[in-house]
């Protein structure tokens, strides 16, 4: 065997894109000593071919003959007076290297018979007088991610060996029966189990009862299954709540709030809710649709790119693992970051800079989603500095599934088959890790919890899975997510029992022990239950498209989970104890309304600067830089794209897709989130989120009576009664909102403990964050409406009431205020407004419709105007207001809910007005040719007058990276 090193560089005269990008990143660190950066891709190939063949590999496969040069061995350092520093970035051993896998296959196509291994690396040559300190900063902050990569400096340093030591079996028992409380707590901590004392005691009691000590794999299985991430212990706990002095009790928080609404509404179009990997509702005739949104916060904090990529990769497997498997048709993504322009010195130790996190997260979602061929159609980004150490990454996926494939049942005797990717050490302890809080040491300690994705492995698996599903070759399917095989097999065999032979699981490399195999969260794997008569056919089918599928065990009928390694029993647990053994909690929750007040009114004659400042605030500003990096049109289903208007750059309220080639039926997708309101009252925050998500759907033409909601709660440490109290408040609002809008929740997820302990002990907790995702049915996509102003001469209406509700608004925020008057929701009126708006849209009375939200009326008008390339003249005398709303700034910027701005052609005035007759609505003004947004107050004084190009520039500039 020989080790070949092949380096690929850009040819002279062709741009060195990656070198230039790295130079840019270094400049962002305010390091000026680096004059230039050159990039080379490095391939390390262990094979027994000769130099001539190595030359062919370099020339024909690895280098582009037009624009790249290749070197067998090391490329020479550029000649010149500047000092050159050589740095290579290698993946740590065990980290997935998809390029290497492809190169291996390609060399086989070229006729190479004996290739042992391929590894890839990035090489940078930095020119300039760089100090050792600067070099260290560059390595850590720009070149590499310590979690998954190793940096090697110098001209002839070689990377660590690619080979891992083989595993030598030895069965480990962990004595628990004689431990005292303190020792039990210590054990949980030492083994990263994240189990509390009560849970450890429950485990101790169980093993005392059965008269033996647990093995390591048994303890780990319990920790995975009982983790907050998998078990949702907090949400299922009993609660004693004290709400402004009043006592409320819940036996099971989830079942008495979010889930209760779904049960009370009892919609016949809901097919499977809160039961499977995603919630399923009817779409049309023989087709159903499912939706799931997950978070991947902790991994994205450590490795933004990999964390976000596997976040989207993981949530795609949820619909794939729902029922007998759905076909993914759309992705959503919502992120929360700290301000991207934060000073480096403000970033706590152990935390990546928010700009780097944001860039990494966006690229991760982009690369995985785009490669999967699933359009990313909807999203949002929210900025608040308290997300500095705990960025939030919500990834959603929608899938279509035949109506008769919505349920699954594994049977006794079915084989347990693992398909897709191989198992490695990646993602070990992900489920338990994500259930705890982070500290400045997490970067080092939990690097193994970070997972690396390979979208193509998942795409190949998906292609075959759908064929196998339609041929009825399996009886059940689920994804390997948090907890890995332990969760997937454990759940699927809950009512049956299963025996698994762990040595049969295909591994990425040698050296994994039986427990690591069982709990690894390696990506792109699914577990299916296959009847003995179908197993040959399905294995052959997967093999025919180069997808690995392996029988690793069998479902039994004794309700025991039996784990073996080469014939030796290494674990045996009763399914009942595994799934039902978790002790029930009672938790304390407290909510006291904070004492807040509104700042004194500012009397100004002109509010142009406020409108411009809000448009330029990161939350409101255009996200075009992000959106365009996502393929939002693949599958050819897009009807309303995320960007719309006369030059395709205005902000759509919701996305609409038409996922079936033969039908004009559509799906509208939107979201709502307002962490700012939560500081005043999480109840109104949650209702505002629901109202926002629903009115976004209504704006584009979705039916109000076919809306399904999803909740994602991201909170701080809920063992603190006040933090938990705010969560309970929000959960109560979810019940009221779902009932009020007649829109059931179909799925949900929570991520708690989003806190960070700094080196000095300071705790940074995220603001209470509730994401509401919504999907609605559109009967005929040809009736859909967009938000851009369409035609000069059209009349402009507002439907809905404006109150003095500036609390938590962007208007206050740009001045550093919070305020007290948080926007509320009149549920009866909100639901009726949605219904009437929908009627107007399907009757064709609406030319454009935009929801009034962040930034209030003035910002919504500005967006409609510049998206349509037209002017707007508005007169606040036409604005229906509540009695308390007398200030001009409140009329302009209040973020009151349930409001729609509507463009109507003059000939439809009467039809529209008579439809809205029993609602608060008014004519604001008209669309003009002038190219200016002009707003007059109640006294006819001009309070905003700005040309639309200036408004648009203000809106586009902040994130035009």
């Amino acid at each position: 065997m020989r080790q070949w090193r092949i380096e690929i560089t850009s040819k002279k005269g062709f741009p060195d894109v990656y070198g230039k990008a790295m130079l840019g990143s270094i400049r962002e660190l305010a390091i000026t000593s680096v004059e230039n950066v050159f990039f080379a891709r490095v391939y390390l190939i262990e094979a027994d071919f000769d130099e001539a063949f190595a030359g062919r590999v370099a020339r024909e496969l690895l280098a582009d003959p037009v624009c790249q040069d290749y070197f067998i061995g090391r490329s020479s350092v550029p000649v010149g007076p500047s000092q050159a520093t050589l740095v290579e970035v290698h993946l740590k051993s065990g980290v997935t290297d998809p390029v290497a896998e492809s190169v291996l296959a390609a060399m086989k196509d070229m006729g190479a018979a004996n290739v042992q291994s391929v590894r890839t690396a990035r090489k940078y040559v930095l020119l300039g007088n760089i100090s050792p300190d600067e070099m260290q900063t560059i390595s850590r902050r720009a070149l590499a991610n310590d979690c998954i990569e190793t940096v090697i400096c110098g001209s002839d340093a070689e990377p660590p060996s690619a080979h891992t030591k083989p595993y030598e079996f030895s069965l480990t028992h962990i004595p628990v029966r004689d431990l005292n409380d303190e020792q039990l707590t210590q054990l949980s901590k030492r083994k990263d189990l994240f189990l509390n004392l009560t849970e450890m005691r429950t485990i101790q009691d169980y093993f005392k009862r059965i008269g033996r000590e647990p093995t390591d794999i048994e303890l780990e299985s319990l920790a995975q299954t009982w983790s907050e991430h998998c078990g949702h212990k907090t949400f299922r706990s009993a609660v004693d709540m004290e709400c402004d002095g009043k006592a409320i009790h819940f036996n099971n928080l989830l079942k008495e709030t979010v889930f209760k609404a779904t049960q009370d509404l009892n919609k016949d179009w809901c097919i499977s809710v809160f039961a499977d990997n995603a919630g399923v509702i009817e779409f049309e005739n023989d087709t159903a649709v499912c939706f799931k949104v997950e978070t991947h916060n902790h991994p994205s904090a450590l490795d933004p790119y990999g964390g976000a990529a596997t976040g989207i990769g993981g949530v795609i497997r949820d619909p794939m693992g729902t029922g007998m498997g759905a076909k993914p048709v759309a992705n959503t993504d919502i992120f929360c970051f700290a301000r991207p322009d934060m000073k480096l010195s403000e970033v706590p130790k152990g935390v990546l800079h928010p700009r780097r996190i944001m860039k990494g997260v966006v690229s991760g979602v982009r690369d995985y989603g785009n490669r999967m061929g699933i359009p990313t159609v909807n999203g949002a980004i929210y900025f608040d500095d308290r997300y500095i150490a705990n960025p939030l990454v919500f990834c959603g996926n929608i899938g279509l599934i035949p109506r008769d494939k919505c349920f699954k049942h594994a049977r006794t005797g079915d084989y347990v088959v693992v398909v897709g990717g191989r198992t490695g050490r990646d993602g070990i302890h992900g489920a338990t890790f994500s259930s705890g809080e982070m500290t400045h040491e997490h970067e080092d300690i939990f690097s193994h919890a970070v997972q690396i994705g390979n979208a193509i492995t998942e795409k190949k698996m998906l292609d075959v899975m759908l064929t196998a599903r339609d041929k009825n070759l399996y009886n059940a399917i689920t994804d390997c997510g948090a907890g890995g095989l332990s969760s997937a097999v454990g759940e699927m065999g809950e009512k049956l029992g299963a025996v698994v032979d762990l040595e049969k699981v295909p591994l990425k490399y040698a050296g994994l022990n039986y427990t690591e195999i069982w709990i690894s969260e390696a990506q792109e794997r699914m577990v299916i239950a296959v009847g003995p008569d179908k197993v040959d056919e399905i294995l052959a089918l997967f093999a025919s498209e180069d997808v690995e599928a392996t029988v690793i065990g069998q479902f039994t009928d004794d309700r025991q989970l039996v784990l073996r390694y080469n014939g030796t029993e290494v674990g045996r647990l009763e399914m009942e104890f595994l799934h039902e053994g978790l002790s029930k909690y009672s938790r304390k929750a407290v909510w006291n309304a904070p004492k807040l007040s509104d700042p004194a009114a500012v009397n100004k004659e002109n509010h142009n600067d406020d409108v411009l400042a809000i448009l330029s605030s990161y939350n409101v500003a255009s996200k075009e830089w992000v959106i365009r990096q996502y393929d939002h049109e693949v599958q050819g289903a897009s009807v309303i794209k995320p960007l719309t208007g006369v030059v395709n750059d205005g902000p759509s309220d919701a996305a609409v897709i038409r996922p079936l080639h033969h039908s004009d039926k559509g799906l509208a997708i939107a979201c709502g989130m307002n962490p700012c309101y939560g500081e005043i009252d999480p109840y109104w925050m949650a209702l505002s989120g629901i109202d926002e998500a629903i009115r976004n759907l209504i704006c584009v033409g979705a039916r109000p009576d076919r809306i399904a909601l999803l909740d994602n709660f991201c909170w701080g440490n809920c063992t603190r009664p006040t933090t938990f109290g705010s969560l309970v408040r929000a959960a109560q609002a979810c019940y009221d909102g779902a009932m009020g809008f007649d829109a059931p929740f179909i799925s949900g997820k929570d991520s708690l403990n989003n806190e960070f302990v700094c080196e000095d002990g300071t705790v940074i907790s995220i603001p209470a964050t509730l994401l509401i995702s919504a999907m609605g049915i559109v009967d005929d996509v040809k009736r859909c409406v967009t938000m851009d102003a369409k035609e000069a001469g059209s009349l402009l209406f507002i439907v809905g009431l404006t109150g003095d509700e500036l609390g938590g608004s962007h208007y206050y925020r740009i001045r550093g205020h919070l305020g007290a008057n948080v926007p509320k929701v009149d549920l009866k009126r909100a639901a009726r407004t949605a219904k009437k708006m929908h009627e107007a849209i399907i009757k064709g009375l609406v030319r454009s419709c935009h929801d009034c939200s962040e930034g209030g009326l003035a910002v919504a008008l500005a967006e409609m105007a510049f998206a349509g390339g037209l002017g707007i003249e508005a007169d606040l005398r036409g604005l229906p207001v509540s009695k308390d709303c007398v200030r001009t700034d409140a009329m302009l910027f209040s973020e009151s809910n349930s409001r729609y701005i509507v463009e109507v052609s003059p000939q439809n005035f009467h039809a529209f007005a008579s439809l809205m007759a029993d609602l608060p609505f008014g004519q604001l003004g008209k669309i003009t040719q002038s190219g200016r947004l002009v707003i007059k107050d109640k006294n006819q004084a001009v309070v905003v007058d700005c040309d639309i190009q200036t408004l648009k520039n203000a809106w586009q500039k902040p994130l035009a990276w």
Binding site: K20, C67, D109, M372, R628, E633, Q635
Partner: protein, 266 residues
């Protein structure tokens, strides 16, 4: 003749195959999606088809370079069958990643008229966008030749691009000249009035604004934009603003032209 038959080639990571198959069916062809492993096992199946499409996606994850691994596979397993396919007067279309595959096999631009894959002698390639990132946006395309069967020389198209490696570069200036003079430029990026311009009119910095290339026969074409994504009016980014929504959507014309050509010539 009997119904026109089109083969849409699948491979690991190809992801525009379903909508491409649907579009071909809408154009009147009997289209079938077939995995490359099946074609390699049995290359004679190409005899049953008159149109071969390499659809968009990320074949093998764009590893090494976009289209490269699949191109390598094609060259080492399908050189002869593809050569024969073109010699028989049949049609090959590569869209986005499919174009990247065709150019990296050397089947395009085919300056010498050999209609044979050749990885050692590539006159042009597709490389990273000048913007350094993947982008999805709509562009106008001006036909650049009269001898490509997919192209209606009198119709400017409006279709989306969605790629990170779509910039055409040639080995040298002389090669570019041969591409231009030989009528190999099938489409160029222009503005809505047909005038060339900088980003975003030319979305990737492509040399001479080239968006699509054809071979010496005019029966093989590769294009970065996605015509299969504008085959219905509600796919147009501004369909809610358009008064006129009844003609053939721009993307559809490429497929109609191909199917009609086969009907009348083969």
């Amino acid at each position: 003749m009997e119904q026109v038959k089109a083969l849409v080639l699948r491979a690991a990571g190809v992801n525009c195959d379903v909508e491409t198959e649907y579009t071909l069916q809408s154009a009147g062809a009997a289209a079938e999606r077939i995995h490359i492993n099946r074609l390699i096992e049995n290359p004679t199946m190409l005899n049953n088809f008159q149109i071969l499409v390499f659809p968009g996606g990320f074949s093998y994850g764009d590893d090494v370079a976009a289209g490269k691994i699949l191109a390598n596979q094609v060259v080492h397993h399908l050189t002869e069958p593809l050569h024969r396919f073109v010699e028989q007067g049949k049609l090959i279309l590569g869209i986005c990643n499919g174009f990247q595959v065709l150019i990296k096999t050397g089947l395009l631009p085919d300056l010498d008229g050999r209609a044979t894959p050749d990885m050692n002698n590539m006159p042009a390639t597709l490389t990273d966008n000048d913007s350094g990132k993947y982008e999805d946006r709509w562009v106008y395309l001006q036909p650049g030749t009269t001898r490509c069967v997919f192209v209606d020389p009198n119709r400017r198209l409006y279709v989306p691009v969605a790629h990170g490696e779509g910039k055409i570069v040639t080995r040298d200036a002389e090669t570019l000249e041969r591409i231009k003079v030989g009528g190999h430029v099938a489409f160029r990026y222009v503005d809505e009035n047909g005038k060339p311009g900088a980003f975003p009119i030319n979305p990737n910095g492509s040399t001479d604004d080239i968006a699509a290339l054809t071979d010496s026969t005019g029966r093989v074409m590769g294009m970065m934009p996605h015509p299969e994504r504008f085959v219905r009016w509600t796919q147009h980014p501004r369909w809610t603003r358009l008064k006129q929504k009844d003609g053939t959507p721009d993307g559809m014309t490429i497929f109609n032209n191909a199917v009609n050509y086969v009907r009348t010539h083969l």
